[in-house]
Symmetry: C2
Subunit: 227 residues, 2 copies
Amino acid sequence: MGFSGNPHPNPLPSKGEQFTQEESEIVYRVIHARRDMRHFSGGEVAPEILQRILEAAHAAPSVGYMQPWRFVRITKADLREQLIALVEEEKEKTSDAMDERKAEFMRLKIEGIRDCAELIAVVLAPDDGTVFGRRTMPEEMALCSVSCAIENMWLAARAENLGMGWVSFFEPADVANLLNCPEGAKPIALLCLGPVKAFYDKPMLEKEGWRERKFISTVLAEDSYPT
Amino acid sequence: MGFSGNPHPNPLPSKGEQFTQEESEIVYRVIHARRDMRHFSGGEVAPEILQRILEAAHAAPSVGYMQPWRFVRITKADLREQLIALVEEEKEKTSDAMDERKAEFMRLKIEGIRDCAELIAVVLAPDDGTVFGRRTMPEEMALCSVSCAIENMWLAARAENLGMGWVSFFEPADVANLLNCPEGAKPIALLCLGPVKAFYDKPMLEKEGWRERKFISTVLAEDSYPT
């Protein structure tokens, strides 16, 4: 499959359209049904669906229009195995860094990197020197842009009834090395994407008793930081 | 208006539902129609719409289920003025840090902080010490979680036919000070939200010739960083 076949940098220009209330409700349903999935059922993602999901990523906002996201689709089984080895190594180190009660959670299935249909590494590109909108927070704003692209993918995937999970158990320098990233590039996600048997009804870590969902009053206030 | 009135931490639980192709197309239309808006037409955002948008934010994924996002709705005119003053100051400094050609872009309308119906500061909460999923990239992963929440808001707003713009022209410490943030909290966005006359047909910085949209082949490759 070739993603480079599309000669149009703007394949889906906005028409400045209006959305109906019924349409906006669908967007909310997708936002609330999205889950960070760790259980996949193999299978595959049709090329045109994968393309749509990646184009959704590339439609994300970015500070100074940097578009600092880079996506590496992992197709080679041995490369996936090498990434799995890095993730396993980091899981050990994380477990060692946690107290005993918390380390128990590491026995849960905390990533789906072995059984997901598609594995996609997301990399923050080396800094291009943009000052516009990021003089005071350069790396932060570039990272935020890449994250918006990932959230677009997540919602697009959910709307396609596909699960996605963001694996962050790795040393970025090791992943950068495996993927031949240039100096200054930083892998921030190994995205597991593909069919799932079922979506969790709540976030997995909430179901498993790791942590509660915060009340909205905890995260929101007027004119002053919430207390 | 009170956001604290909702006693349910999970007001919109997912039903693990399936979406139809027609429904997924709506999600894509919203993703591609979303713009980083800098032109607003005043007016207001109905309380129930604002609540829905903020609940969409709070439904975002977060590393280790930290939910590290905090939202401060600015209601006081004098507080908005103080924030505007900080943004104006930073625009000057950014302009000084750019070469002459680029500094011209600072004469564009690059924020809508004065004419947007709602102004919402988004703050990264102080680190809660979570190790799970972020041993190797602690601040990065927390920031990424907050950004996913902001992208949810952006798409929810667009689906409600409201514009949103992410203003990052400020010194985070100064904004933290104005909003009584605790030590370790970091404001990352001043979100301008509200009615707009029209959405840009392309990203404003692209329309204005600041930078081109990258071809998808530039940002995507298989098994190795795109070259």
